[in-house]
């Protein structure tokens, strides 16, 4: 394969912690050959060179201000393939927790008397602004899943990631269900692909990968009730990463719209 055959790839970041891009860098620890398969033309955090002729764009972070929309549209115009990288870009993620409060109140609280009108509005996933061709879910992304998705893109294959609940992976690992410890877990309605890492570490799934396409909310309610877990606890858990969906998609916590 000639070097001219290597697809040009770029990484962009908006409002986020850059943890997903760091995970991309860390994925090279086990897959250093990935660097040979692509031509990275832009990756601000890791390199100074900057090229604008990318074909595949990975975008991390949420859109949180009008200026971001212009940047996103430029990226969409240039790239053949735009992939949302991580929960902030895919779902809005934790950035959208502040959407429950008014913009004015949030600014007043953080900046006090010095609050000036800022170029800031309720946080949203990038798909609210531009169409995307796929996403790598999670907060942060799973590095092995990222590598799998990168391979699918390079091979021109359709992107396929699990559409079954985290419970499946949890059971395959023979974990004891954290519901038995009275912990709320969003596993039954959340997309697998992370190896059920959170329940494997003794905490309930917090839904960072987003819901599967047909979440069984009735089953979820029954599981909560059977284990004496207040629905209030469940709502607080789902708000962490899916506030945007709850507020802006007007999806109620029971999954109906």
């Amino acid at each position: 394969m000639k070097s001219t055959d290597k697809p040009k790839v770029a990484f962009f970041d908006f409002a986020g912690c850059e943890g997903c891009q760091l995970t991309v860098i860390d994925s090279l620890q086990n897959h250093p050959a990935l660097l040979d398969a692509v031509d990275i033309v832009q990756f601000r955090e890791a390199m100074s060179e900057k090229g604008d002729d990318y074909k595949i764009a990975f975008v991390e972070g949420s859109c949180t201000r009008p200026a971001d929309e212009n940047r996103l549209k430029t990226i969409r115009e240039q790239a053949q393939i735009v992939i949302a990288l991580g929960a902030c870009a895919h779902l809005g993620g934790v950035n959208a927790l502040r959407n429950w409060q008014s913009q004015a109140e949030v600014q007043r609280y953080v900046y006090g008397r010095m609050a000036v009108s800022q170029d800031s509005y309720p946080a949203r996933p990038i798909e609210a602004v531009i169409p995307i061709d796929g996403f790598v879910p999670g907060c942060p992304i799973d590095r092995e899943e990222f590598v799998q998705i990168a391979k699918m893109l390079l091979q021109g294959r359709q992107l396929r990631i699990p559409d079954y609940p985290v419970c499946v992976e949890c059971k395959l690992k023979e974990n004891e269900c954290v519901f038995n410890y009275g912990k709320a877990c969003l596993g039954p309605i959340t997309r697998a692909g992370c190896g059920a890492i959170c329940p494997s570490n003794g905490v309930g799934c917090d839904g960072c990968r987003g819901p599967i396409s047909t979440p069984n909310m009735e089953g979820m309610k029954i599981a909560l009730a059977e284990h004496g877990i207040d629905e209030d606890v469940f709502i607080k858990q789902i708000k962490l990463f899916q506030s945007y969906q709850l507020i802006h998609d007007k999806r109620d916590v029971h999954g109906s719209q």
Binding site: A15, E18, L22, L35, Q101, C198, V203
Partner: protein, 433 residues
Amino acid sequence: MAASNQKNVRIDLHHLTRVEGHGNIVINASKGVLEQCDLEIVEAPRFFEAMLRGLPYEQASHLASRICGICAVTHATASLRAVENALGVQNSPQTSLLRLLNLYGEILDSHILHVYMLVAPDLLGVGSVIPLAKSAPEVVLRALRMKKLAGDICGFVCGRHTHPIGMMVGGFTHLPTEEQLINLDERLQDTRQDVDATVELFQSLTLPDFERDTEYIALRKDDEYCFMDGEITSTDGGSWPLELYREVTNEFQVAHSTAKHARHQRQSYMVGALARYNINQDKLHPKARSAANALDLGTKTTNPYMNTTAQVVEIVHCVEESIQTIQRLLENGIKPEEPAKPSRISGGGVGACEAPRGTLFHNYVIKNEIISDANCVIPTAQNLANIEADMQVLVPSILDRTSDEISQQVEMLVRAYDPCISCSAHTLEVTFV
């Protein structure tokens, strides 16, 4: 070329590269006189303090870690310490040792990223670590190898470096096994040759020669080089308990920028590895002391570019201290423990840790198990005034060079601080003309 006293210089560096987060540098000099020299933070404000409000205290550390991908463990730990201090939680010795080991892992992960991937390219004349993969593959593989070990320390202790899973108020939901700790111990001992190679590499590289004395601030403890708890300590003298952090940080507005700055006994102060070294060097592990000598770090070093050098010394220190800490944990054996419980449901508390780039404070007020108020003071925000003060002295002294050379020196200065801009919860977007 015009003499420096005639020079007009205009430099606009948009979105600095090889730093975490988004910042611009603007330099404006007219007829050799510096009129403007600003580091503008253009990171989108994220309003974490507003989001922490209303959260049940159990969730705080999970949200707090999302402030930053590199300092996730430090944010989570400072957040936990704030809650624990607010609600009267007494951690077991095992919990404290594991938390410390976790912090060492993050310091190592971050410093290795910084010295090899963000700073070394400048010193080796390349734009990034990627060309080094071809020209010096053993260097890049070494960095990836060391970074993997660091990430695994955090992975075994708390489930994942970015973002921690198994830490909670009063303890852990999941403990590393003794086999995992033994595995880490062996790998840490093996990594000593990579650490030595890192010190040798930095002995061979030349950093810019620039000195500016300033106030240095870090946490300090009597019995160890401090990364968690302790007292706030200054090279200008004095120490303060954590509860009085606001007296030290004094965040204030500056006229030219809506980003908040901090100042204490001078116009600005510095936090980070160099500050920690200046304040805690008597507590360095002997191997780290030797490395510091080999790298020309003296009693008080005032060259900000040598913040990177201090990070190399901390890499040595944290590898050795991780080995010691694991051996202490193994001597006692890892015991399953219920997390320590709060003794009250309301209260205020400050948690402080040394993030890779400096002292981090989380301060919460909790009412009936819900966070009612939150304040986070970020190391990079504390450094902003000091970076600008350095630039204001550096730039006039190099105005006679080309714009490219001036840009590079200034970018390298900012990079030396290892800024973590998206962490800077208190910074605002500047609309720049």
